[in-house]
């Protein structure tokens, strides 16, 4: 909030003045809650908390490379215990890369937030109220928890974003040669990057919800079109790619102003599509970022508009293949295009539609929107739809040339069996290629220079064999609803903490899957019908929608959008992830009434020990995903990734066989007690969908579970283990505290297993768990 004070006449002992005007840049309204100990924590302020977590969940490093190449003293070989010229060892180098990745991710979200905030302030003013609806009084759990700011207007977010920028600079500086030197301290800083990342994401999303009128925690947010087949190809089509919705909003505003909304299609890929559909439900969501190459090559888009993040860096070349111009709208991603921001709309649109330039950078969202619409309308009659992919006869003819050398398979990140598929296609059976459509991440590495000795283009051939599938892929996704309501937290906080609701599963991240994308909705559905709360965001939220049951219904059509048992909650785009972690914080604040203001350690301790939440980033690919995961880790929330996640360079694994690792303080008595490996891991790479599915209920167990809650969680764990692996779990003795914990229907079988393990009942009762000795003293006072 700004203030201006005008004084007609000022008289004091030393000054006499007339017509004095005082302008106060920022007035911070006090927040009634007393601040805790960590307001705007620096990079080492939460070190002891991080170390408490990291002493349980020790890093297992998985180097992708033996070498460090970051300074001119190297390259240094760090393998087998060697140190680099600067003294760094392999563990520290890997953890440095973890930090670097998380810091890049946090910087990317913070840069996005800064861009968005400045744009929104310019358009709506810095005094625009952050109003997330009557059921959201705790509008910014991360910002309040970390920075101590209670944001009431757009301008109040400036300090939070300033804080993020400062911290990221400090964190990046730690990666410099001769700076931080120990692996666990690097890890702690990576956690810090994650915490900062969630602050930035939250600021971005609440700003755009407030300014653009996105759904405000609406469980019944509209169902919108999803899939490569949902674009109406009888109209000009504009494709937007990226994460910053401002240009998409400008396009939709211009279409409405001109009465063209029904005459031009706006489609999107990646999070910008999700946010566009939160603005207007007629926006089409084509799919996650893996759909970029395939959709551009289909030729459906007449114009491609890019903003920022996760855009294929060959987008200009790909679009040029099908004669579609590219409009870059953000300085972060110019792609070599000429800056035409100062030219007139007409001049730019003419140059683009006449094909005199391949694309243009237009760094003014409003102007870019107008250029995109005009260009699409002008180009539409000249372009062919869906004829840019090879036909079935061409695919078969190309397959006849395949030598079966497997070169395309070896460069494929998923090692897809393309040679076998070509062998079948040679005989006229294209189903082998078409069956790879879902497992292909659309990278087109198989078409690199010199990959195929015959010069074949396997990705295009795969798409040609899948053309009918692409045209028919039409699904529905619930538009991102934004935050979880305070009222929902009040209703489910108790059941989650007690365990009656067995867990909250957050499905997030990118589409870098190791198998078919249908694996992800299958996992989600397993937990939806078991009445877990399933939340989703970003590309993962789209993937959940790209699956239908026998009746043709998708998950979003079959499950309610409420934050409740059996609800499927699409919070929105990448930056909306903050609402998922924010819900855990809200449980601590609203349900358990723990102090929120600048009180990170206590809230994280509460979440870690009581809130049975687990993140699943099955296709995580990006540095942003690394930062998002790091934000969950610092809150003590475990994250599971798919096989490609091993390339994040380390796992954080607990050792359930070492009882000392699971000692906690019982805040009721002050004693150290055994708390069970709950949750067992903090960052886990699963080899298969089945492994992840069985692990999820296990990672939802917490030391504070009531007997009823533990029984429900064990029931799901045992049931899934038996179903997928054919046996009872071999670690039940670690999780069954008393006979009352055993699911009634399984009692006899479980007791047999327990007796074999020499299990004894724990007579100490359920603890009031904490990892932090300081909280014992504080809680004892309360008791």
């Amino acid at each position: 909030m700004k203030a201006t004070v005008h004084i007609d006449e000022l008289v004091s002992d030393s000054v006499r003045a007339r017509g004095v005007t005082l302008r106060i840049g920022r007035v911070t309204e006090p927040w009634e809650e007393e601040p805790g100990p960590t307001r705007m924590p620096g990079i080492a302020a939460l070190r002891s908390w991080d170390r408490a977590l990291l002493s349980r969940y020790r890093p297992f490093y998985l180097p992708a490379c033996d070498l460090c190449c970051l300074c001119t003293m190297g390259k240094c070989d760090l393998s087998r215990g060697k140190r680099g010229a600067c003294g760094l060892d392999m563990a520290s180098q890997q953890s440095r890369l973890v930090l670097l990745s998380a810091a890049i991710g946090a910087a990317t979200h913070t840069g996005h937030t800064r861009e968005l905030l400045e744009g929104l302030k310019e358009r709506y003013g810095r005094d625009l109220r952050i109003d997330l609806g009557p059921s959201v009084t705790l509008e910014a759990p991360h910002i309040r928890l970390v920075t101590g700011i209670r944001p009431r207007a757009l301008g109040d977010l400036e300090d939070a974003v300033d804080y993020c920028e400062r911290e990221i600079t400090q964190l990046l500086s730690c990666c410099h040669t001769g700076q931080e030197g120990e692996a666990i301290d690097f890890e702690s800083k990576a956690f810090h990057a994650g915490m900062v990342d969630h602050v930035a994401m939250e600021a971005a999303d609440i700003a755009q919800i407030a300014a653009y009128g996105f759904p405000k925690g609406d469980a019944d947010a509209p169902l919108v079109e999803l899939g490569t087949g949902c674009a109406d190809i009888t109209k000009p089509v504009i494709l937007v790619i990226g994460h910053n919705v401002m240009p998409s909003v400008a396009i939709m505003d211009y279409l409405e102003e001109q009465g063209l909304s029904d005459q031009v299609e706006l489609c999107g890929i990646c999070c910008t599509a999700l946010d566009a559909s939160r603005y207007r439900d007629r926006a089409r969501v084509i799919g996650p970022l893996s759909h970029q190459t395939r959709f551009i090559r289909s030729g459906i888009a007449d114009v491609v508009v890019i903003d920022e993040q996760c855009i294929r860096t060959d987008v200009v070349d790909e679009a040029a293949r099908v004669g579609a111009p590219v409009i870059a709208t953000q300085a972060k991603a110019l792609h070599g295009l000429p800056d035409m921001t100062d030219e007139t709309v007409e001049a730019i649109a003419d140059l683009l539609s006449e094909g005199r330039i391949q694309g243009a950078a237009v760094l003014d969202a409003g102007k870019a929107g107008e250029v995109a619409v005009r260009t699409a309308i002008a180009l539409f009659p000249k372009r062919r739809k869906f004829r840019n992919l090879p036909g079935e006869a061409e695919v078969q003819a190309a397959a006849e040339q395949c030598l079966g050398c497997h070169a395309c398979e070896r460069v494929c990140p998923n090692g897809l069996p393309l040679s076998d598929a070509f062998a079948r296609a040679r005989d006229g059976d294209l189903s082998g290629l078409a069956n790879l459509y879902e497992s292909c991440i659309g990278c087109a590495r198989c078409e690199g220079e010199d990959v195929c000795p015959k010069g074949l283009l396997p990705h295009s051939l795969l798409l040609g064999a899948s053309a009918r599938r692409m045209a028919g892929d039409r699904f529905r996704i619930r538009a991102g609803r934004g935050p979880v309501l305070d009222t929902e937290i009040r209703a489910v906080g108790g059941p989650i903490v007690m365990g009656d609701i067995p867990g909250v599963l957050g499905i997030v991240g990118c589409p870098n899957f190791h198998g078919p994308w249908s694996e992800l909705p299958m996992i989600a559905e397993e937990f939806l019908w078991r009445r877990y709360i399933v939340t989703a965001s970003g590309c993962a939220a789209m993937t959940l929608g790209m699956y239908r049951d026998a009746e043709g219904q998708g998950l979003y059509e079959r499950y309610p959008g409420s934050f409740d048992a059996g609800g499927l909650v699409n919070v929105g785009s990448c930056v909306s992830n903050a609402h998922i972690s924010g819900a855990a914080i809200k449980i601590a604040s609203i349900f358990a009434r723990r102090r929120l203001n600048s009180n990170y350690e206590e809230i994280a301790d509460y979440v870690h020990n009581r809130v049975g939440a687990v993140g699943l980033a099955w296709g995580a690919m990006s540095q942003k995903a690394a930062a998002i995961a790091a934000g969950f880790w610092r809150l003590g929330i475990p994250v599971i990734v798919g096989p490609h996640g091993a390339k994040y360079r380390r796992a954080l694994l607990g050792r359930k066989d070492i009882p000392e690792d699971w000692q906690i303080f019982d805040a009721k008595s002050g004693e150290r007690v055994y708390g069970a490996p709950a949750p067992e891991h903090l960052f886990y790479v699963a080899e298969t969908r089945e492994e992840a599915t069985v692990l999820i209920p296990k990672l939802c167990m917490r030391p504070s579970d009531t007997t009823k809650g533990r029984s429900i969680k064990l029931n799901h764990y045992i049931d899934l283990h038996s179903r997928f692996f054919g046996t009872m779990p071999d670690d039940l003795d670690l999780f069954v505290r008393t006979a009352a914990d055993i699911p009634i229907a399984m009692k006899d079988d479980v007791l047999v297993v327990l007796r074999e393990e020499g299990w004894e009942e724990d007579t100490k009762g359920i603890p009031d768990p904490t990892l932090v000795r300081r909280f014992v003293r504080e809680r004892l006072h309360e008791h």
């Binding site: 490093y61 992708a64 392999m90 090692g415 091993a646 790479v685 089945e690 492994e691």
Partner: protein, 175 residues
């Protein structure tokens, strides 16, 4: 037999020596004081490979950690004592330097049925953080440079023959 990594990975030190004869692996097993086998999802449902692994484990006393799906197949094919454990967890335990007694520290690990996406970083993790004396043998049929020993890129038939020959060699020893 090609010895280019099936997928691109970088390493500074010497690449895995190529296993050309079953004798090489049999000799390593003979010499090992505490061999361990890690079996990944690729073994699940592959009765033939599971049976060969059971023979190797039976003859050498190797502890077999298998991802849970693979454990079921191994159990059905003659290895009731298999320890179900996800592959990275098994790797972390071997490299974690937290063994109850020195005698338990593995000195040889055979890795099979693990997708290269996980196997390459796992083998590099073991190479960098495992016990100094640890030898890592990649038993899959695609060359994996981070191991100490690995097959070249070979066909399924040859691979089966090689694995069966390893089992035959160690069974001859009657260990």
């Amino acid at each position: 037999m090609s010895t280019e990594p099936w997928q691109r990975y970088e390493l500074a030190g010497p690449r895995a020596a190529v296993i050309r004869k079953a004798d090489t692996v049999a000799a390593l097993l003979r010499k090992a004081g505490r061999p361990v086998i890690i079996a990944g999802r690729g073994v699940a449902g592959d009765a033939l490979i599971a049976a060969i692994l059971s023979r190797i484990a039976g003859a050498t006393g190797a502890v077999v950690y298998a991802s849970p799906a693979a454990a079921a197949t191994l159990r059905e094919n003659g290895l009731p004592g298999v320890v179900p454990m996800p592959v990275l967890e098994a790797g972390a335990r071997i490299s974690g330097n937290r063994f109850p007694a020195a005698a338990n520290i593995p000195d040889l690990v055979l890795i099979i049925g693990v997708d290269p996406v996980i196997a390459n970083p796992l083998e590099e993790g073991l190479r960098s953080f495992g016990p100094r004396s640890l030898r890592i043998v990649a038993l899959d049929r695609y060359y994996r440079p981070h191991a100490s020993f690995a097959f070249g890129n070979i066909g399924r038939e040859e691979w089966e023959e090689q694995l069966a020959a390893i089992a035959g060699e160690v069974e001859k020893d009657g260990r």
